[in-house]
Amino acid sequence: MTLPLSPEPARPETLASGSDLARSLLFAPLRNFINGISDGWNAFWFRPADSSPLTLIRIGTGLLLFYSQIVWALSSPSFFGPSAWLSAAANESIRTSAWAVSPLWLVEDNPALLCLTHLTAIISALLLTVGLYSRAAAVLSFLLTAAFANRNPAALYGFDQVLGLLTLYLCVHPGHDRLSLDQQRTRRAPQPSVSAGIALRLIQLHLCLLYAVAGLSKLKGAAWWSGVAFWGAVGSADYQTIDLTWLVHWPLLINLLTHLVLAWEVSYCVLIWNRLWHPVVLSLAAAVHLGIGLCFGMMPFGLAMLVANAAFLSPSLFEKGLSRTTTSSPAATRYPASGLE
């Protein structure tokens, strides 16, 4: 009878001592666990990423910012002049702290300086769009967006909030290595970079926070549970730009749309990272934001949200379009930061 071969038992002298064995058994899994978290954290934040989604975000943000600044400039006396809608005293009474500072208060009595400020803001938005001196343009755009917002905190809505966060994160990486005059000047081929990855992760996480809070805060409202909240937007004469009152004859459709919007918002921050749900979540984002834009007259806000959602697009989607105009780095395709890798 042949006994099966078995591994040679470890000889006691190969182990330093019994306590080392115990320590090894106890702490090895913990060390592996901590190393796993550390590696995951580093890969999530610091792995070089393709910047092509940031290129789209830069151009989209630049165009929206340009539009916003043109509208501010055309209504300058009403919002920034000495007799603007919001006086210093009124601003003082509604702002939450003294930190919401704006240099625009200093130029309200000086039309030339005010005009120069508007011009600077418009030019910085244009530079950001075309990608000339992109990083400086991003920093200037961010500072001016905050300055204009802090001058008129009572005249802002989601559009301004999203532009603010996008310009901030474009300071980290403005996506200027494609479709930009900077790229034309330097003739450098796009390379994956750590800063592009960090910028994309910041936009992605901020967007997840935004949707999660927007969804969770709705859970406090009875209308979102009873399925009639969608009507609240449709039935508001002050928001309406397309007549959707025919929906009164389709109450179940109102219920469905209400529940769908709420479920999408609440689950966005989880499902967007799932390969299967990723396209569904992004498609719903496009439908919801374009729908809000068209039906409730908030197209700038809708477009700003879509631009922010571009942070979740796979760089491979951009490859075909961008490769016609720029030299694409083969390595870049291996380093997406769409959340699905």
Partner: protein
């Protein structure tokens, strides 16, 4: 990492909130306020509610009168400009339902009045906050238009005229606004 905690603390500290969330928020508030990142992101939450506009009546030195409303979708174009004006009146509407914000509402009303007087050259302006309630689907199905006068509730904000400095409107001695619980006039309440 600190920035991430900061942007989470802004919506986390929105009322109702805990002492912990408020403490964390206060720590980051300088950065959040200065960088315009202090947002709650409570879009259409807890549920879509009534909207606000301000009706004003101007009185000129020669005795003529003129009326208007802001925001005005015709006058305030493009739509982004309309929304900027809309947010001004929504801020007034938010302050009007909170008794602790009465002083802020008066400051805001005075600011609006100053702007209207400077822009039009009128001698006096009367402001009225209008709240437009959303009709139920059943009401619309039976023919009620979204702009029906029955859906409006009004609260006078005051009558204002320019002070000696000609820069700031002050409440006119002719008529001071009294708090009018206009919310109770609504169809839905």
């Amino acid at each position: 990492m600190l920035h991430l905690v900061a942007i989470v603390s802004a919506p986390w500290a929105m009322s109702p909130s805990s002492e912990l969330s408020q403490s964390v928020f206060r720590f980051f508030q300088p950065w959040l306020d200065a960088a315009y990142l202090n947002h709650g992101y409570h879009f259409f939450a807890p549920e879509p509610g009534p909207c606000h506009s301000i009706r004003y009546e101007l009185q000129f030195a020669d005795g003529t009168r003129a009326e208007g409303v802001f925001p005005d979708p015709q006058a305030h174009s493009p739509r982004l400009l309309y929304h900027r004006h809309f947010m001004l009146t929504e801020t007034a509407g938010r302050l009007a339902v909170d008794e602790s914000s009465e002083a802020s509402l008066r400051q805001l009303s005075q600011s609006f009045a100053t702007h209207l007087l400077a822009e039009t050259g009128a001698a006096r302006v009367q402001l009225v906050l209008r709240r437009r309630y959303i009709p139920t689907p059943e009401q619309v199905a039976t023919g009620l238009p979204l702009t029906a006068p029955e859906l409006l509730a009004e609260r006078p904000l005051g009558t204002f005229e320019l002070s000696g400095s000609q820069r700031t409107a002050v409440p006119s001695p002719v008529r001071l606004a009294e708090r009018d619980d206009y919310v109770a006039q609504s169809l839905r309440d």
